[in-house]
């Protein structure tokens, strides 16, 4: 695997300054008691890396599946001094990202940015930014199904015990079945990881390309599942290993061509269909990474 080279520093960092809070809302939407409850759960999650802490998830003004878990975490950790970045599949300009960014501009009057390095809190759906994160930054993941064993064992009482006993044989069987059917581990996203030699954790549906970035990351990583009402975390500098076999080691995706916009060979590429003749184009999924590379080149 290639090392991701550090990004060229931008000439100017674009931060949209703090705005006026809509006076009809408490700071960051949630009431103070809800925040206390979530904050207690967050501290437990950080103290037991990879373990899913139940919390009394609230209804948010958006449907489940649109990041209600991530939004509740972000609302509970934001301070008025923060700079928030929101990405959806790596992009700042998709519906989900734009809506959540606007939500916090309105309810928290928060400063926002598209620039990964300038952000103190990054809420993400299904990607980890290409640019390396720094100490002090917090990455908040939106999680649909927090329990990696759920499709193998539907009963919560049982999966709790399996985690307690570190009984992860079933997960290895699942990966082995991939090999027996396809000749390789065919899981490409939400690829299970083991945190600090104990808990097996669902990294949320990030591509397995991003899994190695979770290991020993200087930033704090928080995971929120709103419908399932679970919070879990990876503290900075924590060991995160993708499950694999000695004869079938973990591998990440690779492409035959670089990004057609910025020429990056080290980033996760999205396939974009260009017309109804089947013409296709591969471009970076991380819009900030792609754009800043293009700016440096031009």
């Amino acid at each position: 695997m290639n090392e991701i080279p550090p990004k060229e520093p931008l000439i100017e960092t674009i931060i949209e300054p703090a705005t006026q809070i809509d006076p009809n809302y408490n700071f960051a939407y949630l009431n103070e008691q809800t925040k206390k409850m979530i904050r207690r759960a967050l501290l437990k999650a950080v103290a037991i890396p990879g373990y899913q802490v139940p919390f009394a998830g609230r209804e948010m003004p958006m449907p489940y599946g649109w990041g209600t878990g991530g939004v509740q975490i972000t609302a509970s950790i934001l301070t008025p001094d923060d700079v928030l970045k929101v990405i959806d599949q790596g992009a700042d300009d998709t519906t989900n990202a734009v809506s959540i960014r606007k939500f916090f501009q309105r309810t928290a009057g928060i400063a926002t940015t598209l620039n990964t390095a300038a952000a103190t809190v990054i809420q993400t759906r299904h990607r980890i930014p290409e640019q390396k994160l720094q100490e002090g930054q917090i990455l908040v993941y939106q999680v649909p199904i927090p329990e990696p064993l759920r499709f193998l064992e539907p009963r919560e009482t049982e999966t709790r015990k399996m985690h307690a006993f570190e009984d992860y044989g079933l997960m290895h069987v699942k990966l082995y079945e991939d090999i027996s059917q396809h000749g390789h581990i065919a899981t490409t996203y939400a690829y299970p990881v083991m945190v600090e030699n104990h808990y097996v954790m669902d990294p949320s549906p990030i591509p397995k390309f991003d899994n190695p970035k979770m290991n020993n990351n200087p930033a704090l990583q928080l995971f929120g599942a709103g419908r399932e009402k679970r919070i879990y975390a990876i503290p900075p500098y924590t060991k995160v290993v993708s499950l694999d076999f000695e004869d079938h080691p973990f591998e990440i995706q690779a492409w035959d061509q670089p990004c057609e916009i910025c020429g990056a060979e080290d980033s996760f590429l999205d396939e974009v269909i260009m017309d109804d003749q089947g013409t296709r184009m591969f471009v970076c999924s991380d819009s900030d990474y792609c754009q800043s590379r293009s700016e440096v080149q031009s």
Binding site: N26, F27, A28, E32, Q33, K35, K36, M37, R39, R40, A41, L42, L43, K44, A45, V46, A47, I48, P49, Y51, V53, P54, S76, I77, L78, T79, P80, D81, G136, T157, R160, K161, A164, F165, E196, H198, Y199, P218, L220, A233, P235, P236, Y237, T238, K239
Partner: protein, 198 residues
């Protein structure tokens, strides 16, 4: 009429957000020293850091246990008025426990350590210390620490680190500790390992 209980945060929402970020940083970077983000007066024997933690984390859903020195009317008033906290005597039911000084290992034995299915049910221990800038040094490692972190603490008794070592052996069960000095705080989650105690 009783005297008015000590007040909480001047700006409740904003102050709580800053103090929680301090606590979150403390817990995710064990043994790092976090300044107090709001200047609060002591309440009885409850020092400013403990007051800050109480105002940030305690509400009617989090039973609180107080040690004998803290178990007086002023402190209880503070918890009831500002946090609506249920104050309880049963150690195993406490979500947070506040200590005016470092207890003996026996004094820590009966707090909830969580259970195999729900290790998060454990009691968080807030222990007041004299200082986090002087005193005996201890070298620590574990998740959240890049290599090693040295912590100086004045105010822990000689049994504390032995207790903390046994606390790690029952991971994922165990208690998380927050050290509350008059002017700063630091956290020791159950994952933190002792390299050396000088």
């Amino acid at each position: 009429m009783n005297s008015l209980p000590a007040t909480g945060f001047p700006n409740p929402s904003e102050d709580a957000s800053h103090s929680f970020r301090g606590l979150l940083t403390a817990m995710s970077q064990p043994a790092s020293i976090q300044p107090l983000t709001t200047q609060l007066p002591s309440v009885g024997k409850l020092n400013p850091a403990s007051c800050l933690i109480a105002l940030t984390l305690v509400d009617h859903e989090s039973p609180v246990w107080l040690d004998d020195d803290l178990d007086d009317e002023t402190v209880k008033q503070f918890f009831k008025f500002n946090c609506s906290a249920p104050l309880i005597k049963q150690q195993s039911k406490a979500m947070l426990a506040f200590f005016s000084h470092c207890p003996s290992p026996q004094g820590l034995a009966n707090f909830n350590k969580g259970n195999a299915s729900y290790p998060d049910a454990s009691t968080t221990l807030i222990i007041q210390v004299k200082s986090l800038s002087s005193g005996n040094a201890v070298t620590l490692t574990g998740p959240g620490i890049q290599t090693e972190q040295v912590l100086k603490v004045d105010g822990l008794n000689k049994y504390f680190w032995a207790w903390f070592k046994t606390n790690q052996t029952i991971f994922p069960l165990g208690n998380d500790v927050i050290l509350a000095a008059p002017d700063c705080l630091a956290a020791l989650p159950r994952t933190t390992k002792i390299v050396e105690v000088s």
